[in-house]
Symmetry: C2
DNA sequence: GTCTATATGTGGATAGAC
DNA sequence: GTCTATCCACATATAGAC
């Protein structure tokens, strides 16, 4: 009924967020100009400042839109599994499943832009810009604490600092995999039809992470003595 | 004896490369301006274009300066180990050692800027800009092929595509660890004195990667059937 | 809410003296 | 090789009409 029916079927605000998600993922934050962005969104240049206030605020909005829901989903899955398990502790594999499953399922969701966001997120974990990393860290902190607690219950015999490092490694593997899977040359050697098969990737990734998490402890006493 | 004694003790060209390494690592490529960069190097703004031709060429020079030597060192270590082993195949652990050892030893070398470079490298693996990734991929390709061949000899029973993915995961873990170790909030929980202990980090990382590489094969037939 | 026009700053790059 | 001064493109952001 209104004039907006001519434009793509979203609010301007949403179209800008979608365009930003895609362009930030493709070119990075700095290399994406408001002109490109608003052109792709079918919006006016001034619309970004009207709706978000500034480019930095837009970046923040892009992450807030999806990250809260994502982390809530992860935590809800942990909660559900713990309820099912009753008094028994969750297995490490279950926890890993909750950790990677949400991300990987979003990758299959190419229609709604979830894939763009997931890959953007993977890239941003290692973004050099301090305010951006601080934002991500802040949005992630609650889920991180929740997963740390779950792993501590599942692996009571593992030293705390070792667990933290192994979580760090797992997180890195996931982030890098999400960010670089379709671009790194190494992967050119694998079958193309497997590249976007999230189910297969999840099986591969889970096997790798699970083994790494449960790796025999190195003799850190030896290492420290030698140092 | 000459006037340069007043300036830092290097050629202008070298000082520019050092400053670029540090600033690119701290702020990224786009966010680092030639003005900042030349100021830090104690050089004139025009010097970058005189010595390198353009900012992009400078970026390329920063990587070329160290990456060729790094990969040559990795390959040399593989060669040496294979010679020592004679007819026996190398163990996966030895190959991993050659892979991560070179990077991690450079992290301890804070004096000569090696640490800056290593962290810059970790960040750049997931840089969104195509030409930069292409450059890295090109500089890395020979070493990658060499390591792939070594792993194939060490693990003849592992399917090729599974090996490629596991190398990808290992590479990602290393890259992310190098890039984000001192900044990610998660790590704030660990003992500060351990954070830069390369020997300890190497032990932790090697244990994780080794276990991941040798993880039991997931039943990919099941996964494919279900898909 | 959306548009045009513009203010204001900064970027990379270069010309030409020294 | 190094410097100053400058060109020019493009960035973000805003003012003010519609």
């Amino acid at each position: 009924m209104n004039l907006r029916a001519i434009k793509p079927p979203h609010e301007t605000r949403t179209r800008i967020l979608d365009a930003a998600e895609e362009l930030f993922m493709q070119h990075g934050f700095e290399a994406t100009s408001m002109r490109q962005l608003t052109a792709q969104a079918g919006a006016n240049l001034a619309a970004v400042n009207y709706h978000f206030g500034s480019k930095d605020a837009l970046i923040e909005a892009v992450f807030r839109r999806r990250l809260d829901a994502m982390n809530a989903a992860r935590i809800a899955e942990l909660d559900r599994m713990e309820k099912d398990a009753g008094a028994r502790a969750l297995s490490p594999r279950q926890i890993i499943g909750a950790f990677v499953g949400v991300s990987l399922r979003m990758i299959e969701d190419s229609k709604s832009g979830g894939r763009n966001f997931i890959r953007l997120l993977g890239r941003t974990y290692s973004d050099p810009q301090k305010p951006i990393r601080a934002l991500i860290g802040q949005l992630y902190a609650p889920a991180m604490e929740r997963f740390k607690a779950a792993f501590e219950r599942a692996l009571p015999q593992m030293p705390r600092d070792e667990l933290i490092w192994r979580m760090h490694f797992m997180f890195g593997t996931l982030a890098y995999t999400l960010a670089a899977t379709d671009t790194v040359q190494l992967i050119a050697g694998c079958k193309p039809e497997d590249r976007y098969d999230a189910r297969l990737l999840e099986a591969r990734l889970t096997a790798f992470l699970h083994a790494g998490l449960l790796a025999p402890l190195h003799d850190s006493a030896d290492v420290k003595k030698a140092a």
